[in-house]
């Protein structure tokens, strides 16, 4: 555990200490109007935004985010264009990117970390880069001051979780269920169970993501966790109703988890 926290973790710890539950919406970068959607989400009470850099083969994503990724790629989005556009965002909350490891690997670890830094991004989530393979990237990210969010899964044995938590910067992403991103009728029982296991072993902020589908489920997850990441539910609103629909949804969730 580092003694000095990065910008996102510092803000998250302070907000948690003040009694606030953390809300991180995910938006696929490169979709038409995505910057406006980021601004709308920030204005509606998000604590950070996770910007997806679309990849051709998103194995952790279900149909909604797959569709958004494919649309963005067909509209010509690239990691470079999205980071260029992210540079113009001035939303006053930390920005993270989520992408698959080949995007990082192909750019080169040091270069990718520098690109994030140059775009004003403070954190990075790479869902197909597990602990055992994360070393070289983490060295580059740490050196650049980029916080690498680690994922913890319900399948992890107890001995594994402290090692994952020790490597997490920014927050610890508690995977809510066995499965890919997408909306579900109810919050899986694994969501609260894993968040509880993680809260017992770490003081890094624990946010539940994957399968947190609406305001009520966000509230349920926040009974145990420090906050939530919401992806498919946000992206679906972006695809159906654009930035205004994203803003309205984020406001609704913010309201629900603030009681």
């Amino acid at each position: 555990m580092s003694d000095t926290f990065g910008r996102m973790e510092t803000e998250f710890r302070a907000k948690r200490a003040a009694g606030r539950k953390l809300l991180v919406p995910y938006l696929t970068g490169g979709l038409a109007g995505w910057q406006d959607a980021v601004r709308a989400a920030a204005a509606a009470g998000a604590d950070a935004i996770e910007i997806g850099i679309p990849f051709s083969d998103p194995v952790m994503d279900g149909p909604v985010i797959q569709q958004a990724s494919q649309m963005a790629l067909e509209q010509g989005a690239t990691p470079v264009s999205i980071l260029q556009e992210a540079r113009d965002l001035d939303v006053g909350i930390p920005l993270a990117v989520m992408t698959y490891y080949n995007t990082v690997h192909h750019a080169g670890h040091e270069r990718f970390a520098a690109q994030l830094l140059g775009a004003g991004i403070v954190a990075c989530i790479v869902p197909d880069l597990p602990l055992e393979e994360s070393g070289p990237w983490c060295v580059a990210a740490d050196a650049a001051g980029i916080e690498t969010v680690m994922l913890a899964a319900p399948t992890a044995p107890d001995e594994r979780l402290p090692r994952v938590a020790a490597r997490a910067r920014g927050f610890l992403y508690s995977v809510g269920l066995l499965g890919v991103t997408g909306e579900r009728a109810a919050l899986a029982s694994t969501a609260s169970a894993l968040a509880r296991r993680l809260k017992a072993i770490t003081d890094v902020p624990v946010l539940v993501g994957v399968g947190v589908s609406n305001a009520a489920q966000a509230r349920e997850a926040c009974e145990v966790a420090d906050g939530v990441v919401m992806g498919a539910s946000v992206v679906r609103r972006m695809l159906e109703g654009g930035p205004d629909a994203v803003g309205a949804f984020v406001a609704e969730v913010r309201e629900e988890i603030s009681h």
Binding site: D57, H106, L131, T155, R160
Partner: protein, 386 residues
Amino acid sequence: MTLMAEPSAEGRFGEFGGRFVPETLVPACQELETAFADAWSDPVFRADLDHILRTYAGRPSMLTECKNLGDQLGIRLVLKREDLNHTGSHKINNVLGQALLAKRMGKKRLVAETGAGQHGVASATAAALMGMECKVYMGAVDVARQELNVFRMKLLGSEVEAVHSGSRTLKDAVNEAMRDWVATVETSHYCLGSVMGPHPYPYMVRQFHRVIGDEARAQSIELMGDVPDVVVACVGGGSNAIGIFSGFVDDRTRLVGVEPAGGAAVTRAQPGVVHGMRSYLMQDEYGQVQEAQSISAGLDYPGVGPEHSYLASIGRAEYPNVTDAEVIDAFQLLARTEGIIPALECAHALAWIVRAAPEMQGQTVLMNLSGRGDKDVAQMMEVLGK
């Protein structure tokens, strides 16, 4: 010590391989690694597998010397007849091994991807034999061009799901199979069909296929008094090639893996990470995986197994590529000269042999005929005209 030994503890062959999977799957891969190591060193498991390979799959597969075509090309041409295995290809070797292992691990369901349908049919077959549930993912493009194999899988009691995302071929079928496995990992085994994916798959699948090379080496010495000068196999993910290479990698034999021109990952030699492994991968300037283009659904894959990348990087094996037109010619050539209709995949290997024969005069050439062409007849009827 063989050159094709165990990978490193991290699952690396040189700088290739590894385990780049979502955190959810890490414990399952670790469990599989342990279970395979345990089974592979257990004489009872090995005897069970040998028995089923002999009495059900039809091993050992024979060698056939092609006098007509060999004389025509000026070489001594010998085929390893994996096409005569039950279900019509080498795929059954790996599938029977994995299904036995899955049962030993207490899994009740198999998940598989398939390109041409050979691995899907083999998986469906093993599931039927061992009383397991099976779901096969297949790209929508491949479902259309391999409808006979789709029906075979259904006859065998498996569910086949057409995948409509991405390029709608093998690469996308792998994505969808991995998504299924992420959700069902506690009860399902992912029966991966090639020497690719996260550790331990490239190693484990090679071990299940090395029977091809071990048999072929002994048979070659019996037939020709020596190992062949050249061993040739087609390469998509590369399972049949790795199987036969493993028998000859420590000999002086030249090893040739033939890729389709539209899926020449090794020729382009650019490392990337997808489907759990670091290996050569066709990708654009930002690392987006490119779509392969091949007449053969089974080779329509933009990557290659990591051990092939390793063998290429150290210069032990070579990986030329051939065009669809050369493949179509070779497909017909074997049928007319030897009375054997090869799978389009293996026709790639033969296409290279035909091209390279002038420089191999008088040499002994062993080709892995990894599958039979029945599945391709309808497609070739379209290509060649009725």
